[in-house]
């Protein structure tokens, strides 16, 4: 049908952020060994506990096998053909933005993330990470007035080693999985957030990840700690240039929420997805986990996944505290040859813990979009509740939508409910909107964003529009 074709064409828009910034970069030689791990650590001048952490992870990684259960199809990754450390050549981190290489500032300007005093967003603090290295963090002083620490993790290692030592690796242990072990061994940079007891973070925090280098693996590490009664909303954005090779991105994100604390973590992921034949693009193998350690704590994940050649990620919540709350809201759009295997794990340990999962998958082209989730109710989780809903929208008859929701319950006084459905944009719905004067593209876009509405509603105000725009961007273009 011509309409189906047209809808398919609509989601195949060129990638906007595919440019490369021409900047001198310091790189180490390709390959991974214990020496490389030591080199990374020494370049960053790290304390011995961190070197030990890295070495332990590296040795564990050597013993592990790359997982294959997600049935993602990609050629074997040669881990010796990757550069594990690359940084734009500018000496150390600058005290002031004025000293940052203007090319970098220009890059972020082009990405829509202006960092300079005059142009930056008024109510969002941004940590800009360029090829594994944090180049600038805005509003640090203002945040410090409230006792909030927001900086690159390298800086945190120097300035707040005690916090790093106390929390790093406590949510995602080094041996957790193959890619987490790799990250723990070689992570370069990332963001650190600490919200002290009783503080409500006065502004949105955001990290913007930009991959620039073509042969460099990206291994960021993010750690967010919210002490008793603290709360924070954090957003991560990502883009990368277009290369015809694949880049490995294996990040780890750890969240810790103590009693009555709340962390809202949102991601708008728009890594380069490869071309229409599946050449190039990012392998996004990410471990994200939050621990609701305290009673009444809350962790909420919202993700809008539109990029990457392969996405393999399951932002999860371990609901330890009594009455703790976990949430997962996800939109995953795949097109061409993209593969996404994404979902969440809600591990209910504490009594009356509650979780909600809303997953919306949109598959177009020849892509494969899988929801894989686990809801586990432990024997002590009396009164726990979970509700999951995962819906798939199929565009064209060559895209795959798979759903694998695991449920395990060991607690009779708990209720788990899962619902799933599939739909498409029907010709009648399109015609109805068109016959009211709404153009084809806008009609498709309205229906796709209507399909995703439950998730977009969860994004922080400042970014909901951005996500809608991103999806619209993927949906804009000529009517076929």
């Amino acid at each position: 049908m011509s309409n189906a074709q047209a809808v398919g064409d609509l989601v195949s828009q060129p990638y906007k952020y595919g440019f490369v910034t021409d900047i001198e970069t310091e790189k180490i030689a390709k390959g991974l060994s214990e020496d490389v791990v030591r080199l990374i650590s020494s370049k960053k001048d790290e304390p011995s506990f961190l070197l030990d952490f890295r070495l332990r992870a590296y040795r564990q990684w050597l013993q592990m096998e790359e997982p294959d259960w997600a049935r993602l199809g990609y050629p074997p990754i040669d881990y010796q053909d990757i550069i594990y450390y690359a940084a734009p050549k500018q000496q150390d981190k600058k005290a002031s933005l004025d000293e940052v290489d203007p090319k970098l500032l220009e890059t972020f300007d082009k990405l829509g993330i202006p960092l300079s005093e005059q142009k930056r967003l008024s109510n969002v603090a941004v940590d800009a990470v360029f090829d594994s290295v944090s180049i600038a963090t805005t509003y640090k002083e203002k945040l410090a007035e409230h006792g909030v620490i927001f900086c690159s993790i390298s800086e945190a290692v120097k300035e707040h080693p005690e916090l790093i030592e106390r929390y790093l690796g406590t949510v995602v242990p080094t041996q957790d999985n193959y890619f987490a072990a790799l990250n723990s061994a070689v992570f370069s940079d990332g963001s650190f957030v600490f919200i002290p007891k009783g503080v409500e973070c006065p502004m949105e925090l955001s990290t913007y990840f930009r991959i620039n280098s073509g042969d460099t693996g990206q291994f960021e590490r993010t750690l967010i700690v919210a002490e008793e009664g603290a709360s924070v909303s954090y957003l991560e954005g990502c883009t990368a240039p277009m290369f015809d090779t694949n880049q490995l991105h294996a990040a780890v994100v750890e969240l810790v929420a103590l009693d009555d604390a709340s962390i809202k973590y949102s991601t708008v992921q728009n890594w380069y997805a490869g071309d229409e034949n599946g050449v190039g693009g990012i392998y996004n193998f990410v471990t994200k986990r939050g621990q609701c350690r305290g009673d009444r704590s809350k962790i909420s994940w919202t993700q809008v996944e539109t990029g990457s050649s392969i996405t393999w990620k399951y932002p999860s919540c371990v609901l330890q505290g009594a009455d703790s709350v976990g949430e997962f809201y996800s939109v995953a759009l795949t097109n061409n040859c993209q593969q996404a295997d994404t979902g969440t794990k809600m591990i209910h340990v504490g009594p009356r813990s509650r979780s909600t999962i809303v997953s919306k998958g949109i598959s177009a082209g020849r892509s494969a979009n899988s929801y894989r989730g686990l809801v586990q109710i432990g024997p002590k989780a009396v009164g726990a509740k979970n509700y999951s809903q995962c819906d798939s929208m199929l565009i064209g008859d060559q895209a795959a939508a798979n759903t694998y929701p695991y449920i395990r319950s060991q607690q009779p006084q708990a209720a788990v409910e899962h619902e799933a459905s599939t739909c498409r944009i029907s010709e009648d719905q399109l015609f109805y909107l068109q016959s009211r004067g709404i153009g084809f593209e806008e009609a498709v876009s309205m229906m796709v964003s209507g399909f995703c509405r439950d998730v977009f509603n969860q994004l922080p105000m400042e970014f909901a529009a951005e996500a809608d725009k991103l999806l619209a961007l993927k949906l804009e273009g000529s009517v076929g």
Binding site: A399, P405, Y406, I407, R408, P412
Partner: protein, 414 residues
């Protein structure tokens, strides 16, 4: 993932021992037996490291007596009643000895058997499954029947195992517009393993209503594969009930070879004590406009474990498929466990596929409603549990429904 130190020798020793003690292959299935034994000798016993067996521990099998069970006292036809053919299957004696076959029912010839046996297993992708190979290795007899075009028949199959291994093998061919109501009762009265492999081929517009009621005991295991091929416009209603088994693993596997057929699947499994019941269903639509209506229910009490895995495959050829699957689970004890996992794989855009799963105890508001009408809490709970089961039982053919004494079932947290 925790690294489990496996000791393959001890885990498979029982199987090697069993294989070595089997009588030499003989009879019409000698070749099948031989292949099955070879396969078992090479294939490892399924373990929790395999996704398909992740939650189902087969270690019970090594403690069971697996010598071929002695023939039951009576074989063959049990009684005749107008319109119903009632046969006893004991795996050894000829169930059809001395039976006058009703019109339209024929026994497959040797050449037809050679051609037909294993066809549906292959079509549904389970011909090399371990439980199937186990059946292949040991079954010495197959009941292979054809129901002629436009014939109608009610068939009852009864199997009672005293002790040891009872392999049952069935092959049913339903010709165009044939209609079969098949009620199958399996009872374990001693320690042992019952292995069932059923293949059925439904030609265009054929109808099969199959009700399987299997009741076992704590030291008995049931491994069953029900493989069914459906041609367009055929109707399948497959209902199964398992209760009381130390281990029960049921694998209904359907393929709609050209779509356009309708399939109804119903399952009820009850576990208490330290029992494990596992249903792995697999439905594949190889053509357009197929329909599936699946409801699987489980009740877990005591230390019981219930597993459900429901795969539904809708490839590109299967446009306008309409499939609905629901897994509903009643968890009655904090030492019991329920694992449920729907698995939907869809590569067609014009389809309706919905699935759902719930796990909970009895609804307190429903209990309260009954109590507020003067019914005491135990009685109210009993009523609700029976109502929960009844939703599956009511779809059994009447004869099979009569084999489910729901009042006597242990639905309590023992």
């Amino acid at each position: 993932m925790t690294a489990s130190l496996s000791a393959p020798t001890s885990r498979t020793a029982w199987l090697e021992r069993w294989l070595s003690q089997l009588p030499a292959p003989s009879g019409p299935l000698a070749a099948v037996q031989e292949r099955g034994r070879e396969a078992l000798a090479q294939q490892p016993v399924p373990s929790s490291r395999q996704e398909e067996w992740r939650f189902t521990d087969l270690s019970l099998l090594q403690d069971l007596p697996l010598a071929q069970a002695a023939a039951a006292p009576s074989g063959g036809a049990m009684s005749s009643e107008a319109g119903v053919l009632r046969l006893q299957l004991d795996g050894r004696t000829d169930p059809l000895a001395g039976v006058e076959l009703p019109a339209g029912l024929q026994v497959l010839s040797d050449s037809e058997l050679a051609q037909g046996l294993g066809h549906t297993l292959a079509a549904t992708g389970c011909e090399h499954h371990w439980p199937v190979e186990l059946n292949h290795a040991s079954a010495g007899r197959v009941l292979a029947l054809r129901l002629a075009s436009r014939s109608k028949l009610k068939l009852e199959l009864h199997s009672t195992a005293q002790s040891g291994l009872l392999p049952l093998r069935l092959l049913l061919i339903l010709e165009e517009k044939a209609e079969l109501e098949l009620c199958q009762k399996i009872v374990a009265q001693g320690s042992g393993l019952i292995s069932l492999v059923l293949e059925a081929h439904l030609a265009r517009s054929a109808r099969l209503q199959h009700g399987l009621v299997a009741s076992g005991q704590a030291d008995a295991a049931l491994l069953a594969h029900l493989a069914i091929e459906q041609e367009p416009e055929s109707h399948l209603a497959l209902s199964s009930v398992t209760v009381g088994w130390g281990l029960a693993r049921l694998e209904p596997r359907l393929v709609q070879v050209d779509g356009q057929a309708s399939s109804t699947l119903r399952g009820l499994q009850l576990v208490g004590g330290r029992q494990i019941a596992d249903t792995h269903s697999h439905v594949s639509f190889a053509g357009p406009e197929g329909q599936l209506d699946q409801l699987h229910k489980a009740v877990a009490a005591g230390h019981g474990r219930s597993v459900f895995n429901g795969a539904v495959q809708v490839p590109r050829a299967a446009q306008r498929t309409n499939a609905a699957q629901l897994s509903r689970n009643l968890l009655l004890s904090d030492r019991a466990r329920i694992d449920t996992k729907p698995e939907l794989e869809i590569v067609a855009d014009d389809v309706k596929c919905a699935h759902g799963a719930t796990v909970s105890s009895l609804q307190t508001d429903e209990l309260f409603y009954l109590q507020s009408r003067g019914i005491d809490s135990d009685q109210a709970a009993g009523l609700l549990k029976r109502a929960f089961c009844e939703e599956v039982l009511r779809d059994l053919p009447p004869a099979a429904r009569a084999w489910c004494p729901i009042e006597q079932w242990q639905l309590e947290d023992a």
